[in-house]
Structures are given as C-alpha cells and as structure tokens.
Amino acid sequence: MNTIGKTLLPTTALGASLVAAFASGQLQLMAIGLILLISALLAGSAWRSLLFDPGPELAEEEVVEADTPWIDNTAMPLHNLLTSEMNGVREEVDRVKTIVAEAILSLTNSFQNLNNGSRSGMELVHAVVERSSSQGVDGESTHSFIDETGELMQYFIDSLVIISKQSVDTVHRIDDMEVQLDSIFTLLEDVKVIAEQTNLLALNAAIEAARAGEAGRGFAVVADEVRHLSMRSNTMNEQIRGRVNASKQAIAAVRDTVGEMASRDMSAAITAKERADQALAHVSEHNAYMDESINRLSVISDRIGGNVDDAVRCLQFEDMVTQSLGSAQEHLQRVETMENLLERLVSLAATPDPISLSDLRSEVELLQESCIGNAKPVSQDSMQGGEVELF
C-alpha cells in the first residue's frame, strides 16, 4: 500500500497542476505538466524497483529489464539443452546400474563354478592316486607284491646255495669212495702176487713129486690141484678188478651228475634280484612323487579357493557403485528441481510479482539446505580394503 501511495502522490499532484494550468488557459503550462507527468510515471517505476528487495542470485535478472525476446532466444534454448542433457545423464546412470548388477551376478556364478571345479579336480586326483598306489595283484599293493617277489627270490637263491653245498659235499664222499675203491686194486695186486707165488710153489712141488717117483704120485696130484686153484684165483682177481672198475665208472657218472647239480650260474639270479630292487625303488620313488604332487595340488587348489574368495569380495564394489549411482541420481533430482525453479524465474521475469518471487526464494533456500545436508555417501574411492557404509 505504501508503494501505491508513493506512486499516486506525485502523479496526483502533477495531475492537479495540470488541471489548474488548463483552467488558467495556459498551454505552455499544460506542456510542462505533461512532461512532468511522464517523468513521474518513470520515477514511479524507479521507486518500485528500489522497494522490491531481490535475493543475491537473482541480481543479474534484476539488472535486465522485463523484456520477452531474451527469454525466447537464450533462456528457453538453454533450458531445453539442460533438460535433454540431464535425461542423457540419467539414462546412462540407469544403464550403468543395470550392467553392473548383471555382470556381478554372472561373475559370482563363474567364480563359484571355478571353485567347485577346482575342488572336484582335487578329489579326482586323490582318487586316482589312491587307486594307482594300492591296486596290485589280487588287490594288494604293488609295493607288497614286489616285497613278496623279492622274498621268494631270496628263498630260491638260498635253496640254490644249500643244494650246491650238499652237492659238493656228496661229491666229496664220492671222492672218498673212489679212494676206497682204488685201495681195493692194491689189495688185488697183493692177491695176484700171492697167486703167482702159489703157482710157483705148486710147480716146485710137482717137480719134487716127479723126482720121488711112484711114492710122489699122490703129492703130484695135490700140486696140480693147487696150480688149478691159483689159476682160478687169478681169473677171479681179474673179474673183481673188472667189477671195481665198473663201480668206479658208475660212481664217476654220479659224481658228474652231482657236479652239474652243484654248478648253477649265478648271473640270472643277480639280474633278477637287481631288477626286483630297481622295481621296488621305482615304486617308492613313484609313491613319493605322487605324495608330493598331491600336496602341491592341494596348495594350488587352496590358492584358487583363496583367489576366488578375493574376487567375490571385490565384487562388493557393486554396493559402492550402487551407492555412487544412487547419489548421482539424487544430484540429478536436485538439478531437475533447480531447473524447474529457473524456468519459473525466467517466466516471472516478464511479469514479476513480489509474492511469486518470494515463494520462489523460499524454495531456493530449501534446495540450498538439502544440498548442504548431504554428506558424501561413499567414503572410499578405490577397491582396496575400506568399509562400505550402509544406510
């Protein structure tokens, strides 16, 4: 009301002076009055602008006069650009959110599969190794089979040695027998000598009997018989000698046979034993290698599990990204609000009224408060260890 009053007062005053001038019939005065009226109107508008108290951020708009062309040429296009760019940003933000969510789901699945695959592989290796080290002949382990083979070989070698010893011992006894047989020949020689001497004696006896004549006839007969006996003795001697020789030959044959029994070449035994020892060493080496390999595989599998855990933990970045994107969306929201306020302000610039302006001012203040009241939602910028705030 004060404003209206202040406007009307000089206008009324000047209007009155104009009437007075007209009444007095002085045109010059009328002209002066018109000029003064126009000035008053202009001054009134100047007063109006002084009374209206603008906010700091709208100071620029206040300097520009209420004039629609700048609204259409500059403000509206700018406004349209802002809108379309904001839409673009929002679309991208939404898109990123979707992509990230899908990618994380897929990655998590892959990692879990990887881990499961690794564990299955380990179990399979375990099973294979168990099997290969324990399966042998009749389900016994290869190791014990080789052990038993080695024992069997040792048994045969020991038997071989014992048989050799007994064979050589037998040959010794045969040698002794042969010595005995040879001694018989000596005896036979003596018998032969005795036989020959008996023969001679008998001959002498026959000669003496002949010299004795008739009286010696009986004696000559006896002497003859003695000669026959000694000849028979010689014959038997020869037979005995023959038999003894035959025995010697037979015994020699036995000795040869037994000698062959005693003579076994050892090289086959050595080779076989060495092979068995080697096989045993190989089995032990193989088992040791298997054990070591399994341990290393276990370590690797555990490491894979650890890496998978790390990767899954890294996928937590989804939370951070979601929060970041959410906050971006909120910023966009506020920018949209700002944009609306700007739009209304621009439209008010054509016909500013204090009430609308002050309403606008209050809304701007509200917006300012909501901007300041927001702490940065995610306190970490990188993936390295950090707490994710949940709100």
Partner: protein, 110 residues
C-alpha cells in the same frame, strides 16, 4: 675270462701272526677245482682262513657251496674266514647269497 695269465692252481700257505691259512684261488672258481680246494684245507685244524679272490674272475654256485663247506670244516659259527678282493660281479653273487653275514669280505674291487 681270457686273462693274460689264467691262474689254474690253488696254493695255500700259512702267514701272519694269527697263523691264518691263506688260500689263493684260481681265475675260475667252479666245480672243476672242488678237489684241490678241499685238499688245501682238509688236513688243517685251524679256524682262521683267508680265501684270496684277487685272481678270480668267475664264480658259480658250486663255489658258494665249497665256501660253506670250508666254513663248516673250520668250525661253523666259530670259524673266522676272510674273503679278500672279490671283483664286482663276484661281490654281487656273495651279497645276494647273504655271504656278507657269514664271512668277512674285504677289498672289494672296483
């Protein structure tokens, strides 16, 4: 088996303070020398022997039997018999027959 000189006879002698009977073996220690080997220890009543295999290149199972008989003659477990200088093959034979438990085997050749 073709050495520069093939030792074909065994001879034994007594030596050392312990009056050990040393039997020097032939290049071939097999059945063919069984009689000679026996003769080299048969008349002795000692229990300390040494079988010198420095010239021995071949040994078969009969030789093992002969050594066991020598050990028996010399008192069995009470016998003290050294087997000296076996070549690598002979050493292998002695070992698979576990003779290192029954005899003192020294000077194994390379």
């Amino acid at each position: 088996m073709t050495g520069e000189h093939l030792k074909t006879d065994i001879h034994s002698r007594v030596s050392g303070d312990d009056k050990r009977v040393i039997i020097s073996m032939t290049s071939r220690f097999d059945f063919s020398v069984h009689k000679e080997f026996r003769e080299s220890y048969r008349s002795r009543t000692d229990s300390c022997f040494e079988v010198d295999l420095s010239h021995t290149e071949y040994m078969d199972s009969s030789a093992l039997g002969m050594l066991l008989l020598l050990r028996e003659h010399a008192g069995g477990d009470k016998a003290d018999i050294i087997v000296r200088n076996p070549n690598p093959t002979v050493w292998k034979i002695l070992r698979i027959a576990n003779f290192d438990r029954l005899f003192k085997i020294t000077g194994i050749r390379e």
